[in-house]
């Protein structure tokens, strides 16, 4: 009999649950896994300092977050989307179609992308974008024709680098980091070596196709796409003395006992060099707020303001301590949030 009772009460609970999904009182955030640690640090401090409940922060990637963000307006959609890149026009259009028209764009700071290798491994101390292009390009122009890349060691790419086999671990194509790597390292290297000009000559001036060729990465196993996160890249480098990996600055700073970082174009990555704009491989991080939810979801505006406040996102704040490069124009961002200026 108690079994019947148990079943009945469960059914009752399920029925109540189904009807009581309304009236949300916490801020819901989703998006980039790069922004996740920062957003969770802010959410935690927000919950401690305000009477609002701690915001719910989920990851899933920039694109997935923006997709959920653009599903529409209402309590069953998320309020904030984190992104490690700017929102695309296509996404803005998709948002508008679903009724999400006023979007507030908030830039929280910059994230550096560093090139690191095993601490006791070969002396990878200084890279140029050209080295990476020479080492990783799928095809290179030689005497007026495209030839598959034959570089086997880093010394083949640049005689000053150690003569060890190329084993590069770069982020997979689903990562926002990959895009930055392609544009700021491979494409830059392509230009620097003069390969871009040569490719343009070969294909007859089609700039888009030439850039695509520049950013194509060889697939013969010298370069490995890591679809997981930086922990996986670290594990690969741990087991391969010659490995060189692409990491976020914050991840590197938490693992300085295992990794040594190389300079890029002669500049060592640090929050200072990135903030000054000297270190070339960095990108802005954003979050997007649904203006229609401000005033409806309690604590949303407070959360956004708290995120960009000097105490949090400033140079002495916890985000900077974790590895975020503070935005020198933070005051302007604070004004955008305070005035709820939509894009």
């Amino acid at each position: 009999m108690s079994f019947v009772k148990l079943t009945a009460s469960t059914l009752a609970i399920a029925a109540v649950t189904a009807t009581a999904a309304a009236a949300r009182d916490n801020v819901q955030v989703a998006g980039s896994s790069t922004v996740l640690p920062y957003a969770s640090i802010v959410a935690e401090a927000f919950g401690e300092n305000f009477d609002f409940p701690t915001p719910v922060v989920e990851s899933g990637g920039s694109s997935a977050g923006l997709k959920r963000f653009c599903e529409g307006v209402g309590e069953n959609t998320i309020d904030v989307a984190n992104a490690s890149r700017k929102i695309k026009d296509k996404e803005i259009a998709a948002c508008a179609e679903a009724g999400v028209t006023d979007i507030i764009e908030v830039r929280i700071g910059y994230d550096g992308i560093v090139f690191a290798s095993q601490i006791n491994g070969p002396a990878f101390n200084a890279f140029e974008p050209a080295d990476w292009y020479n080492a990783l390009a799928a095809e290179k122009p030689v005497d007026g024709a495209m030839v598959a890349n034959t570089a086997a060691t880093w010394a083949d790419a640049n005689a000053e680098l150690p003569a060890v086999e190329i084993a590069a671990f770069i982020p997979g194509t689903k990562h926002g980091t990959r895009e930055v790597f392609e544009e700021k390292v491979l494409l830059q290297g392509c230009e620097d070596t003069g390969a871009l000009a040569a490719i343009l000559e070969i294909n007859g001036g089609d700039e888009k196709a030439a850039e695509k060729t520049c950013m194509a990465v060889r697939t013969d196993g010298k370069s490995v796409d890591i679809d997981g996160d930086y922990t996986e890249t670290l594990a690969r480098i741990d087991s391969n003395t010659n490995g060189v990996g692409v990491f976020g600055l914050a991840f590197y700073e938490n693992n300085t006992d295992k990794l040594k970082v190389a300079t890029m174009s002669g500049v060592a990555p640090s929050t200072e060099t990135i903030a000054a704009g000297d270190y070339p491989v960095s990108r802005p991080l954003f979050f997007y707020v649904k203006k229609a939810h401000i005033g409806v979801i309690p604590g949303l505006k407070e959360y956004a303001e708290f995120f960009v406040s000097d105490e949090i996102a400033g140079t002495d704040g916890p985000l900077s301590a974790y590895g975020l490069v503070s935005d020198p124009e933070l005051a302007a961002t604070q004004a955008v949030v305070a005035n709820e200026e939509a894009m």
């Binding site: 719910v56 700073e253 938490n254 693992n255 300085t256």
Partner: protein
């Protein structure tokens, strides 16, 4: 007659001397035994390696480093107007409390470790967990009359300090770490000898909520344990009645035809389907089609129900089958209806077996991670305790295996230790459930 069959003369054999053939057979048997023992020994060696690795890596998570210091709750900073108005006190954020803690630690350093290289209160930041400010703010808001007094607090030390006491962080490994310097470790050594810095058992790891990446020392598995509990409730209340009803019908009532054969074959097939498949199914059906919330234990429970059902049906049918037909015949012979014979006689006798199967199915579901990856139970920071049963089922939460996976992914090596600690807790749950299943079987199962 014997001559006719025994044409070729044979060497005389004796029972007392061992013939070569017997010798060979005996040797074969000995070899086989040796192989068996070797196989068991290999298994045991791996088990010992596994368990000792888990314990070695994970035990540290159950201890945490604390700093015990008196903190002067300065009225000028916490309650400027001195009227103890709770709303005004609340306006002071955790950033207002941090300097008080730093001053207190600095005072302790100057008193107990004079001559250290730490020369300013701000320099003590590397020693203290960011959670301390919130801890003290909560206490002050609950007891405003503490303001103006000096109160002794036990606060968490930063994860690097904790790592140093546990041997994870060494003087070599921090050489290029910008978060902590050798001078901090010197001070920690001195304060430790004076009993201010101590490594103690950390209950918060078992009961606490997950924390952000900047404070691994605060993270606990408690909230995701609740997530797992709510999921298991869903699995239990759905899969037990459905599974038992299906098996009783199939075993006792259903006619034997090609349809029931087909169903039987497919149930066996379902039991062998990889769990990730159920995850995709859950994503498509429960979240995208039915519109249930992502990361909710309800959805996790539904997906795991699908996974557990075949296990329960198979074990229930096996235990129904093991009830001898004479019991049924006797009941029917005394005039009981088919239904009465099943529910009054067969089912109670099969119950221990059914419960055992259910518990083992639940244990399997508890440790399952793959389907949870797809329904969004990872990549989520489980920092809120559910506020009631409804929020427990519907609000986003993590589950224990998902939480372990999440910790193992994080950048700070301190989280790695917590992942191993989480594994210990998960294993304790699994072993307990399996022991309960064994006890049930031993005590109540009848053999015929």
């Amino acid at each position: 007659m014997t001559d006719a069959t025994n044409n070729t003369p044979k060497a005389k054999t004796s029972l007392l001397t061992v013939s070569p053939r017997v010798k060979k057979r005996n040797a074969q048997e000995a070899r086989f035994k040796a192989y068996g023992i070797a196989a068991v020994a290999t298994g045991l060696v791996f088990l010992v390696i596994l368990l000792s690795t888990i314990l070695y890596n994970g035990v540290g998570a159950f201890q945490q480093t604390f700093i015990t210091v008196p903190i002067y709750l300065d009225e000028a900073k916490l309650d400027k107007n001195g009227n103890r108005d709770i709303e005004e006190i609340k306006k002071v954020s955790t950033f207002g409390y941090t300097p008080l803690i730093q001053d207190a630690i600095f005072a302790a350093i100057e008193e107990k470790a004079p001559g250290s290289e730490i020369t300013s209160a701000k320099d003590t930041k590397a020693l203290i967990s960011a959670s301390a400010a919130a801890q003290i703010r909560d206490v002050v808001i609950a007891n405003p009359d503490m303001i103006g007094k000096s109160v002794e607090f036990r606060i968490l030390a930063a994860s690097r300090v904790d790592g140093y006491l546990k041997g994870r962080v060494t003087r070599d490994s921090i050489a290029r770490d910008k978060n902590i310097d050798a001078k901090h470790l010197d001070v920690v050594d001195t304060l430790r000898s004076k009993g201010i810095v101590k490594r103690e058992f950390n209950m918060a790891f078992i009961t606490g909520a997950d924390a952000s990446e900047s404070r691994p020392e605060q993270a606990g598995i408690g909230v995701s344990m609740l997530g797992s509990l709510f999921m298991m409730l869903v699995v239990l209340v759905l899969s037990l009645p459905i599974g038992v009803a299906a098996s009783i019908y199939l075993e006792e009532f259903a006619p034997q035809n090609k349809w029931t054969d087909l169903i039987e074959v497919n149930i066996s097939n379902l039991a062998a389907v990889p769990s990730i498949v159920f995850g995709i199914l859950g994503l498509a059906v429960f979240i995208q089609f039915a519109g249930l919330p992502q990361s909710a234990p309800l959805v996790g429970g539904l997906v795991l129900t699908l996974m557990t059902l075949p296990t329960i049906i198979i074990s229930t049918r096996a235990s129904l089958k093991s009830v001898p037909p004479s019991i049924r015949d006797a009941a029917l012979g005394l005039g009981a209806s088919k239904m009465q014979s099943v529910f009054h006689h067969v089912l109670p006798l099969a119950m221990p077996g059914i419960l055992t199967g259910t518990i083992i199915g639940l244990a399997q579901a508890l440790g399952e991670t793959a389907p949870l990856l797809l329904i969004g139970m990872v990549g989520y920071i489980a920092s809120n305790y559910p506020s009631g049963p409804i929020s427990g089922f519907m609000d986003p939460n993590s589950a224990m295996p998902a939480q372990i996976y999440e910790w193992a992914k994080r950048a700070d090596p301190a989280y790695y230790e917590r992942a191993w600690g989480g594994i210990i807790i998960l294993l304790v749950f699994l072993i307990t459930m399996n022991i309960i299943a064994i006890i049930l079987r031993r005590r109540f199962e009848r053999r015929w």
